[in-house]
Symmetry: C2
Subunit: 435 residues, 2 copies
Amino acid sequence: MRLVVIGGVAAGMSAAARARRLDQYAEIVVLEKGDVVSYGACGLPYFVEGRVRDWRKLVAYTPERFSSERNVTVRTGAEVVQISNARRSVRLAGGEEVGYDRLVIATGARMNLSSVSVAPGSAVFSMNTPPEAERLRLHLDRTAPGHAVVVGGGYIGLEAVDALRANGWRVTLLQAGGNLLHREDEHLTQTLVSHLSRFHVSVMLHRRAGLIAPGRVDDIACDLVLLAPGLKPNAEMAADAGVELGRSGAIRTTDRMETNLPGVYAAGDCAEVQHLVTSRSAWIPLGTTANKMGRVAGACAAGARESFAGVVGTSIVRVCGLGVATTGLSLAQAKSEGFDAVSERVEANDKPSYFAGKPLSVELVADRRSGRLLGGTVIGEQGAEGRINVLATALHGRMKVSDLEQLDLSYAPPFSTVWDPVLIAAQQMIKKLNW
Amino acid sequence: MRLVVIGGVAAGMSAAARARRLDQYAEIVVLEKGDVVSYGACGLPYFVEGRVRDWRKLVAYTPERFSSERNVTVRTGAEVVQISNARRSVRLAGGEEVGYDRLVIATGARMNLSSVSVAPGSAVFSMNTPPEAERLRLHLDRTAPGHAVVVGGGYIGLEAVDALRANGWRVTLLQAGGNLLHREDEHLTQTLVSHLSRFHVSVMLHRRAGLIAPGRVDDIACDLVLLAPGLKPNAEMAADAGVELGRSGAIRTTDRMETNLPGVYAAGDCAEVQHLVTSRSAWIPLGTTANKMGRVAGACAAGARESFAGVVGTSIVRVCGLGVATTGLSLAQAKSEGFDAVSERVEANDKPSYFAGKPLSVELVADRRSGRLLGGTVIGEQGAEGRINVLATALHGRMKVSDLEQLDLSYAPPFSTVWDPVLIAAQQMIKKLNW
């Protein structure tokens, strides 16, 4: 059995490793169009920041090591340009055909630059791949800090703000829509905007970048432009081969990561995944999910019966010292999904003041009738990650707010308050609704 | 309706406050034998340490404020010595009788000193109440640091170690049994013992303190003795009045915090609670649980229909910088409870090294046949509290290890690794058992 994996980053490498573990005889080939595989793309902003001195430290495996330790052939610079499922083969840019018995498509996503034009000579950068991040890092090393414009207010855009500020740059952030972090949540956006303003980062909402030219973005003068717009799935080649896409434009998958074509799997940022709160397919490109999908795709391609139930939509980002974490649905999203949704937000210290407690904002979203938890947002300088994980776990368990209120969470003064902010939020919501 | 609450700390004050919220007409009387109510007993070790300068900062409400804001009569120095349920009244130490329509017993717990004799003139202290903590704090202020013996290796004993070390004392910890933190878990105990030894704290297991005399505990010379032995519930008076006790010696309660006597409720450290993993009653005296039980006791005493499902046995302590957190059952406990239990332990960094990640040990205990999670232990200098709360929430949701493996936990490099240690532990257990 020959398994071919297209793409050698999170999902692809997870798939290859997992397939090898379950089938020691299969021939496994990873085809990666770039020069580097198995890198932690989520670490690249911290390489640009200067915290990670060498991006090679973000690489878990070299092709050679993966090959020698896992007996998987990893070919870099191998860009697949066509999938022919009828012939069970893929064609590389140079014309070479590589046959497969089973195929895992892990082609990732790319920046959605449809509305942006870049004039020649512009100082435009991104942090999507190691070479791009390295080019930016070199530029920061060689250039006096000035004014940078970051295009895109998703989590990469916000991480870019921190990376540039750490290098002494003044930053303006442009976001095409009215929400930051791709979350329909006015409070979250306003909290971030006012937090960023305290660090002299100016955020312009509803501001789509049009023409990037030397020294400016439209009418905004700047010395550097960092592109971090939304992503789009690299799914066109799969679609051309007859792989069915979902409404998002990403590849539709089953819980075994199967596409509609037998023996062809998809995983990672090019694929849709089940959203466990809405019970519908969603496209949420994130490294954690890509790894989980990759593992299951690899296992199933190797003949095992594994499945990936889906995600609840958890994410977290730190910007200017503030942790901003979300899971499940925002109030607006829940209403769009047809829930009779309500929300309640509390502010409470994460720890006692004598252990340097800081305010934490916890917002819960729930279904009014059933009391089921639908989502949550936790924002604070410390302790956001632990609380959002409690809410994410509760979403997996389809818990009600009344279950949440009774959770036996850990308490000692160095770690939390006797009533954890999550419990206080649950109490307040129950009180408000007279449940 | 007159509601009498015996005890004015966590459970008692929660009960009184909740009853008042739900019934604005009831007469509510709290009888507290000490001079202080509504104090955070969990903060007393940090007052002894010197981090909290004044123990009054640990007091949420004075009797006067509770009375004026909540319209609850709070009597301090009012020790109840007898409950006569036939006459619906309690008798105070001075002979006064106080009648009730409904009664909440929140008499707490006391140190179990049955095996210890104290000779006159010994420098013996504890941290159980504000006056005791204050006496110790004054002694530390006035005495040159020397060698302290802490009797008892539960969480209060361990917090005492930190408090004394912070004041320059050399510490020896005596534990009557073979386990620290009352948890049948050899790895946990050994980890703590070796961690403490790095801080020159000597731990003697299987060492029961017998005679405490001036300058020594048995044959151990010392300058100060801090008593932090196990607790026993203050349930005798309730038992004398016909209230049924459980096997633990604490008061048996329903999920509405009712005792066997109609209209008589119990809450807090004097009462048993349901353990959601074993589905049996357990006695686990902790402030968080006391508050939750108190709220429900107060609500039900006021005529509402609320319930407290129970606990999963979560606790956490920090000692010499190490966070030690447990939830559910240890392997040994799970086996004693009749489960075909297995455990798996991994060590993984809580964050990437470029964000100062530190090793975190995560142990899971599960039922072999069903795969159900039964418990967990998380130990590390940072990030233990968040992970134990994920496991506690999973226990509430009766999740399997295979559910745990798929949790959509938050990830960004400042907060965690792409595979959270909890997910790695779940993966390893699944791998080991070929589930």
